[in-house]
């Protein structure tokens, strides 16, 4: 529903699917709370034949592939670009992080008839609303208060979304990309040059910055390990018993016959109680209020599973070599 790709299922198929969810045996045999394993390819892991990282102009990148069958896969590409800018007057101690999601598939899809702006930007608005402020510590992006700060722009490209669960996949891809981003160490050059004169590093004539070219001094943005994780809970309504079923990691068929979806951004750091940073409901069904605690509890429970149910491509080359070509670089 969030992606704009709408499958058409027959009424009988929908009935079969929902009855299966009630029996705890979904179309591919998963239980209601089972999450599929996804594959992450990041810039630090893979190198192509000549030894260069895949996306050379970006500061960090990641690719996520979630493949649920031979013909369907959700494929997300995420790239992080860092530049230096002047912080805003209202928040002089903070840098900035922008998330932009390009869902060209929904925009050009021939399956969905209404290709208006709202559909195209749907994924973009959900993700930026849920994640943008909860990913990294913005104050660490500041170089010189009032003058220089980092502007991190995260670009996500949805290459294919036919395995469903696009929002969760984007979130994991963004997280992996940011964990592999290197912020260059930047030093105001006036401090370096004029050793004897009076220091006024924020004066206009000496406001040049010098980039440390030593890569070992580059850092990853702080706070990314505690970043929020988005879990999408899909709600299906079973007419026979008038009950609601909650699913995690829905495939496209399940999203096509679901009642509504709730996207929950959970902050689950070590040592503290998990907290909910943001929550958004999509879909046409009206969610009964009593379901909300159950939904959020399920989302919180799913966070450790979601953070760990992936494999990094390239680590098991010995037995995955055949599928490597499909799941990795093509």
């Amino acid at each position: 529903m969030a992606s704009g790709l709408a499958l058409q299922l027959s009424e009988s198929e929908k009935l079969y699917l929902i009855d299966g969810c009630a029996d705890n045996c979904r179309l591919d045999g998963r239980e209601r709370e089972d999450i599929r394993q996804y594959t992450i390819v990041t810039s630090s892991e893979t190198t192509s034949a000549d030894g260069h990282p895949p996306l050379m102009l970006s500061n960090g990148s990641a690719r996520l592939i979630l493949s649920s069958s031979g013909s369907t896969s959700t494929h997300i590409l995420c790239s992080v670009k860092v530049e230096v800018m002047t912080p805003s007057q209202s928040q002089p101690n903070q840098g900035n992080l922008i998330v932009h999601v390009e869902d060209s598939l929904a925009a050009n899809s021939s399956l969905s008839r209404k290709k208006n702006e709202e559909d195209r930007n749907r994924v973009q608005s959900i993700i930026s609303e849920l994640l943008a402020t909860n990913l990294i510590d913005l104050e660490s992006l500041c170089i010189i208060p009032y003058h220089y700060a980092f502007n991190v722009s995260v670009d996500v490209e949805i290459l294919s979304g036919t395995a469903g669960s696009i929002i969760d996949a984007c979130c994991h891809a963004i997280r992996a990309a940011l964990q592999n981003t290197l912020l260059p160490k930047v030093v105001p050059s006036s401090i370096v040059n004029d050793a004897g004169t009076s220091m006024d590093p924020v004066g206009s004539s000496s406001s040049d910055l010098m980039l440390e070219s030593d890569l070992s001094l580059a850092q990853t943005p702080s706070g990314i390990d505690n970043a929020a994780v988005v879990v999408t809970v899909t709600v299906c309504h079973r007419a026979l018993t008038n009950s609601y079923l909650l699913l995690l990691d829905a495939s496209l068929e399940e999203e096509a016959c679901c009642f509504c979806q709730v996207h929950v951004a959970v902050d689950a750091r070590e040592g503290t109680e998990p907290t909910i940073c943001a929550l958004r409901k999509t879909g046409n069904g009206s969610l009964p209020w009593e379901l909300l605690p159950e939904i959020t509890a399920l989302a919180v429970k799913a966070v450790p599973m979601a953070k760990s149910s992936f494999r990094v491509a390239g680590s098991s080359r010995n037995n995955a070599s055949l599928l490597q070509t499909q799941l990795d670089i093509q």
């Binding site: 058409q8 299922l9 027959s10 009424e11 009988s12 198929e13 009935l15 079969y16 699917l17 009855d19 299966g20 029996d23 705890n24 045996c25 979904r26 179309l27 591919d28 045999g29 998963r30 239980e31 089972d34 599929r36 394993q37 594959t39 493949s67 649920s68 069958s69 031979g70 013909s71 021939s110 399956l111 494999r311 098991s316 037995n319 995955a320 055949l322 599928l323 499909q326 799941l327």
Partner: protein, 307 residues
Amino acid sequence: MTSLHLVVPGQVIASSSSSVGTDGEDSFLKGHGTYLERVTNTSTNEAEQRLVASVVGIVHRVNKLITVIPASSGVYDGQVGDLVVGQVTAVGPTRWKVALCGSGQREAQLPLTGMVLPGGVQRVRTAQDQRDMRQHLQEGDWISAEVHKINPNDGSLLLHTRSMRYGKLSYGTHTCVPPALMPRRKNHYYTDFLDQVDVVWGVNGQIWIQRKLSALQGYHNNVAQAENDRDEDRHERLRQEHASTPLLQDDRMAVARVRNAIECLAMVHAMVTPEHVETVYRQSSHLRPADMLLPDNVIALTACTRQ
């Protein structure tokens, strides 16, 4: 066909050497997707006949005939008599439009006369029948049908469901594999496949899996009923019972397992034949159905198709 050999255009599949001047008997017959090339080997002064592939595909060898089955995955060419599984996309004045291959291809047509109506097979279709079309098949319904004719002008297919074996499919699940991976067999409707499920293998790549009808009560009861019950009516009753009876969890797991077995084969681009599916199914008995789709397991389970 014992092994799958992928070739690209220009790749030599086989060669036979014959001495210059004589047109020696070919040790192979060339089929579609190949061409013969005569090359003179200058060092030994022998003429060599080489069979070269002209398309990307899989080599298929039957006795002396060598063909290359093209690996174009999306295109399904219909032949008269094929069993196809498709989804209704539109209800027209006298016919339904059925999509056979996702949304990219031309749609096939199922005319109203091609469908068996209750009450009489040879009844003339009235205007009331046209208005009632939607009660039989709606947009989004899955049907199994046979290709009746191919329109010579534009190549579109005309279907019919004039048999008990075809008709609307309900209360099951479908999978899609590239049409190039579906073999052409004599029988495409497998009942009691692996003693668990009924499978309809559409030649266009769509496969429908549902529970086996012989597990239903009505299957055995009707044997004892009066013989003036027509076969079509009995089948119709059976179908309705199947559509309304919920499944047990074991049956559901069996359906999920068969579906995953087909997906595994499609992932490694192996031919999706009932034998292969059966092998993968049996080998996966120690795994949960959901775990069958992990990459390592897919490779392990489909190893039998690659020996």
